[in-house]
């Protein structure tokens, strides 16, 4: 989005929030069912700045929970990125690897990652590693698939050009395939990152303690819709920010590609 377009982009959300507040104030919603934006902000303030007390988990714990979720996403996504890119390159470049793993990968890919939750908890217990495993496992597939598709599409003239210039065949993967695959790698990483946030919430609701997903579920159990909305918006903001960071990183890495589109 261009800087000049921001105000217009914020208009619709602002109007929605305004409508939401008015609807609550005018009593269009059953009392005690849906909190107004003001109530949401008030409880959010307590969640962030309130005193930490053993009596209420939702007081003063926001920063800690955010850091917990962030750490899980960072760890899981990092593992998925490294393994996904490596495996994707091998899968896309070496026909033998593709023949060996294609069937297995398609089978595993067909299983929603959430179906692995009970197995994961059984195997890892209520432990950080359960969440990290789930995120890494889930984000691995879109990353690996996207990288493999990109590697398969490496222009033949580029690999031929490299061979003709003296690159030994075994070095083609690093010299040509890897850089040629970078655009689709970043596309895969973006999908993987989005999925990481889905899976951190799922695993925190079901498998591990602390974090925004844990807060979400705890709020549900005590009927605190205001806190639920706080947690939802928090996840949204974090997801948006992490995606923005990734896009900036891809812009720097792919600056050689700028202007290619539409040429």
């Amino acid at each position: 989005m261009k800087p000049g377009r921001w105000p217009l982009g914020l208009l619709v959300p602002a109007l929605l929030v305004l409508f939401w507040q008015i609807a609550g104030d005018l009593g269009w919603t059953p009392p005690g069912s849906i909190p107004t934006p003001v109530a949401v902000v008030e409880s959010w303030y307590v969640w962030i700045f309130g005193p930490v007390t053993p009596l209420a988990w939702h007081s003063g714990t926001w920063t800690f929970y955010v850091l917990l979720s962030l750490r899980r996403v960072a760890a899981g996504f990092a593992i998925a990125s490294v393994t996904g890119v490596t495996f994707g390159l091998l899968l896309g470049w070496y026909a033998l690897v593709n023949d060996l793993f294609d069937g297995l990968i398609n089978f595993l890919r067909a299983i929603p990652t959430t179906a692995w939750v009970p197995f994961t908890v059984f195997f890892f217990g209520i432990h950080e590693s359960a969440a990290v495993f789930l995120i890494a496992f889930g984000a691995f597939f879109p990353i690996a698939m996207s990288v493999a598709a990109g590697a398969r599409q490496t222009p033949r003239t580029l690999t031929r050009a490299a061979l003709m210039l003296g690159t030994p065949p075994r070095r083609l993967l690093r010299r040509v395939v890897l850089p040629a695959t970078l655009p689709s790698t970043f596309a895969g990483l973006r999908i993987g990152l989005g999925l990481s946030w889905v899976l951190v919430i799922v695993s925190e609701m079901l498998a591990v303690q602390g974090g925004l997903g844990y807060a979400l579920w705890s709020a549900y159990q005590v009927n605190r819709l205001d806190l639920i909305v706080d947690a939802i918006v928090s996840v949204g903001v974090l997801g948006l920010m992490s995606d923005w960071l990734l896009v900036q990183l891809s812009r720097i890495t792919l600056r050689w590609q700028r202007g290619l589109v539409g040429q």
Binding site: T157, R160, M164, G166, R171, R175, A180, Q257, G259, Q263
Partner: protein
């Protein structure tokens, strides 16, 4: 000029299986050819006459089906920096800037840093791109990209230069300039060149010899020497006599039956 040919083909045939059509296609057939050191050979022929196949076999990208092909008396074993290839679509690495594209070959061959810097600067000056060294390929015009592609292979000090319609994507002005420079460079560096083109004028302008190939299966229909002095004047009478002759042969080549495949 030494008597031993740089390139010697004997009854070279290339056939491949076209999976989508489920039939065997003979790209070129019984090509017998000698190219001497320092000769500039241009190749014309109808589309699909196997001229690119011949070039790619020389480059080592493809293998022959039968017959023999020798370079300096040795069979071809894969691509290598002694046989430079310039592609129609430039094939520069889009993720590397111009300097790094040109450096690519020497780096891969393990040339020392200081030697690379000196030769890169020199070759960029030769092709007139010294001010564009830090630009990425997409920031260069088509003419500049083809100059860059030329610089990238010339830095490897090749013996043979293989060019597959390198100037087809350029505007007339740029093409003319590059044709002149190539003619000069290849003579200076005593390169043996095989240059594929669709343009009869270009073939006569650049070639010591023009090979006319027939429609698939591609065979050499005519091998015509162009004994005109360089630089050649495309408006001269002699030039146009050659041009007419080759155009006439090419027309015959296109008409010749394609049924035998």
């Amino acid at each position: 000029m030494s008597s031993a040919p740089v390139i010697a083909c004997h009854q070279l045939t290339k056939a491949y299986h076209d999976i989508s059509r489920g039939e065997t296609v003979v790209a070129c057939k019984d090509i017998t050819l000698r190219i001497d050191r320092g000769e500039f050979i241009t190749v014309v022929g109808p589309s699909g006459c196997g001229k690119t196949s011949l070039l790619y076999i020389l480059a080592g990208f493809e293998t022959k089906t039968s017959g023999s092909i020798m370079i300096d008396g040795r069979p071809i074993q894969g691509p290598g920096p002694d046989r430079a290839v310039v592609f129609q679509e430039f094939a520069l690495f889009p993720w590397l800037d111009l300097r790094r594209n040109v450096e690519f070959g020497p780096r891969e061959r393990g040339v020392s840093r200081s030697d690379i810097d000196a030769s890169v600067n020199q070759i960029l000056r030769t092709v007139g791109l010294e001010t564009a060294a830090n630009r990425y390929p997409h920031e260069l015009s088509a003419g500049m990209r083809q100059r860059a592609a030329l610089a990238r292979v010339l830095i490897n000090d090749p013996k043979i230069l293989l060019m597959d319609e390198p100037f087809a994507a350029l505007d007339a002005q740029t093409r003319l300039a590059l044709q002149r420079e190539l003619s000069k460079l290849s003579a200076e560096m005593s390169l043996t060149v095989m240059f594929i083109t669709h343009s009869v004028e270009e073939a006569v302008l650049l070639g010591d010899r023009v090979l006319v190939m027939s429609a698939r299966p591609g065979q050499i229909m005519a091998d015509i020497s162009i004994p005109l002095p360089r630089p050649r004047d495309p408006t001269s009478l002699e030039f146009n006599e050659h041009r007419r002759e080759i155009a006439r042969l090419l027309e015959q080549a296109s008409l010749s039956p394609v049924t035998a495949s």
